[in-house]
């Protein structure tokens, strides 16, 4: 009798313990996702050998269950990324053992919704706020008339010389922003450099050719260049057709710019923006026609090609400093000073972090983990 009761208890025990199935809105996401979790410990502790978990879903107001698939027996999480926001769903897990017996457990209904704030990226927010405060302080000082020293940057000092050379030779300047879309920071920085170059081109009445890889960049470049020509007092010298869209194709663009270089023979090539594999093709062709070449990009791999084929190269941050350096605008220069201060803060934090990790306090660095 006791043995029989014990056998019944063993049969009942796993059935009673398996469960803990919980469905909830996936946190810190843009919606359309519900996470289902369950406890796998009772499965392992169970006498029965479970081999399969199947998951089904039902809209709360609906009737039939939809199969979502099978889950590996060791998994304890399922993320359903195919749900509608605001609609209640119930999930059913079917645990099947080796003999074919099954236990069915349903979750409570759950609804998905988007979150406005991703709490796992609070560290990013704090970082951005620190940048805003530091830059804001230096902007404030810049507005008050503060003077900010900027060390000489050879590539930027050479831009004047390059534009002057094109003027002396009576040849055009060729400007390329590479393959970046308008959303890329390097392309936005390129428009700032373009503004300074176009101002000088307007003053010297030197044609400025700007073939583009992206129609939106072409449109923005036309606006920026026109503004620069107006600012220089020579709107009549602006030729909209000289800033044009070629193609989205990477090597189609490279082939066409190469063709422009060998036929129009620009005296100066400026490669400022985001570049990919076309960088060396462009720079080598420019080198072969004897143009003075200045490149600036944040594309680290392409910098090595520009270094071997161009006369001057603006490396990463130097390129982003270009707009302030060329414009000599105290406000833009103040942002450079602010960036330097942020680099100093980063350097100090790096040293402190390394010392902390060496001293065994590495767990504290978990604040830098990004969700």
């Amino acid at each position: 009798m006791i043995a029989l009761c014990f056998a019944i208890f063993l049969l009942i025990l796993p059935t009673a313990a398996i469960g803990g199935v919980r469905a909830f809105d996936t946190p810190d996401d843009g919606g359309n996702s519900i996470t289902v979790v369950w406890d796998t410990e009772p499965l392992r502790a169970s006498q029965a050998e479970y081999v399969r978990i199947e998951i089904q879903r039902r809209v709360v107001s609906g009737s039939g269950w939809d199969d979502l698939g099978k889950i590996p027996i060791d998994d304890s999480v399922y993320v359903d990324d195919n749900v509608e926001n605001g609609v209640g769903y119930t999930y059913r897990l079917i645990f099947t053992d080796v003999s074919g017996g099954a236990i069915i457990v349903d979750s409570e209904p759950a609804k998905s919704s988007p979150q406005l704030f991703n709490s796992r990226r609070t560290n990013v927010l704090i970082g951005v706020l620190i940048c805003i405060v530091v830059l804001g302080y230096y902007f404030y000082r810049g507005r008050k008339g503060g003077f900010f020293y900027v060390r000489p940057i050879a590539g930027l000092q050479a831009i004047d010389e390059a534009v002057g050379r094109a003027t002396e030779l009576g040849k055009p300047i060729l400007y390329s922003a590479g393959r970046g879309s308008m959303q890329r920071v390097a392309t936005i920085a390129s428009m700032n450099v373009l503004s300074s170059v176009a101002t000088k081109a307007a003053e010297y009445n030197t044609p400025l050719l700007f073939p583009n890889n992206d129609p939106v960049v072409a449109a923005v470049a036309q606006e920026v260049a026109y503004e620069a020509y107006v600012k220089a007092g020579h709107p009549d010298r602006y030729v909209a057709e000289n800033i044009f869209y070629l193609t989205d194709s990477q090597f189609g663009y490279a082939a066409a710019v190469d063709g422009i270089m060998v036929r129009q023979r620009p005296a100066t090539n400026l490669f400022m923006g985001s570049f990919e594999a076309e960088s060396l093709i462009l720079a080598e062709t420019g080198n072969s026609i004897g143009a003075i070449q200045i490149a600036g990009t944040d594309s680290t791999i392409q910098l090595s090609f520009f270094i071997v084929a161009c006369d001057y190269v603006l490396i990463g941050e130097e390129y982003f400093a270009a707009s302030g350096y060329l414009a000599k605008d105290p406000l833009v220069l103040s942002s450079l000073k602010g960036q330097d201060m942020l680099k100093l803060i980063l350097g100090i934090l790096l040293i402190l972090g390394a010392i902390l990790v060496t001293a065994g306090g590495g767990e504290l660095l978990s604040v830098l983990e990004i969700g």
């Binding site: 990226r121 990013v124 959303q183 449109a219 193609t247 090597f251 910098l303 090595s304 990463g316 390394a354």
Partner: protein
């Protein structure tokens, strides 16, 4: 005979003829490539963007809010009107503003916080010390508001050496990848086209 392969091979040779000098074959290949690529991208844009992301949501799914980006897109065409072209700056400003807004936190995440964490290494091995010194010295090199003299000058000099080591290694690495692209083209010409190699 596969005419597609022959056309591709002739166009490949026409592009390679630029290595000698600019010539009518290169010009022809260049213009074909430009024309075909623009036509292709127009078709891709219509089939992967305009239809699934604008027309179907508006006309089939009734998502009327999608009309707003549709109108903004059409405002871009006002560039062709001398009188109304200033209005085309509205969508451009939105693109730039949204682009900067989206990329700033992404850069903070990927290029500052993630790299900071990767650099905070225990000072217990030569490689870790080299990594930390390299990052700090390169940061000093990119410090613009102080002249590179004295201790800052020494730090910047070390930084530029590390940068040059990086550029040298990436140059070699990428050249190897480009050589493999050339090998692929040669295999196409000698194998697929002429059948000299299997």
């Amino acid at each position: 005979m596969n005419y597609g392969i022959t056309v591709a091979a002739i166009l490949t040779l026409a592009i390679y003829s630029f290595l000698y000098k600019d010539n009518p074959f290169y010009k022809a290949a260049e213009h074909i490539l430009l024309g075909v690529s623009v036509g292709y991208f127009v078709a891709v844009t219509v089939s992967t963007t305009l239809i699934p992301k604008l027309f179907i949501p508006i006309f089939s799914e009734g998502k009327l809010s999608y009309i707003i980006p549709g109108i903004l897109g059409m405002v871009m065409f006002l560039r062709f009107s001398k009188k109304l072209s200033p209005y085309s700056r509205i969508p451009l400003s939105i693109i730039i503003g949204v682009g900067a807004g989206v990329s700033i936190p992404a850069m903070m995440q990927a290029q500052i916080i993630a790299q900071m964490k990767a650099t905070m290494l225990p000072i217990n091995s030569l490689s870790n010390i080299i990594i930390i010194v390299a990052v700090l010295s390169v940061l000093i090199y990119f410090y613009f508001s102080q002249p590179h003299k004295g201790a800052i000058g020494v730090g910047a000099k070390i930084g530029i050496y590390f940068l040059m080591i990086f550029f040298g290694s990436t140059f070699g690495y990428t050249v190897m990848a480009r050589i493999s692209l050339l090998i692929g083209r040669l295999q196409f010409l000698l194998g697929d086209w002429l059948g000299f190699i299997d």
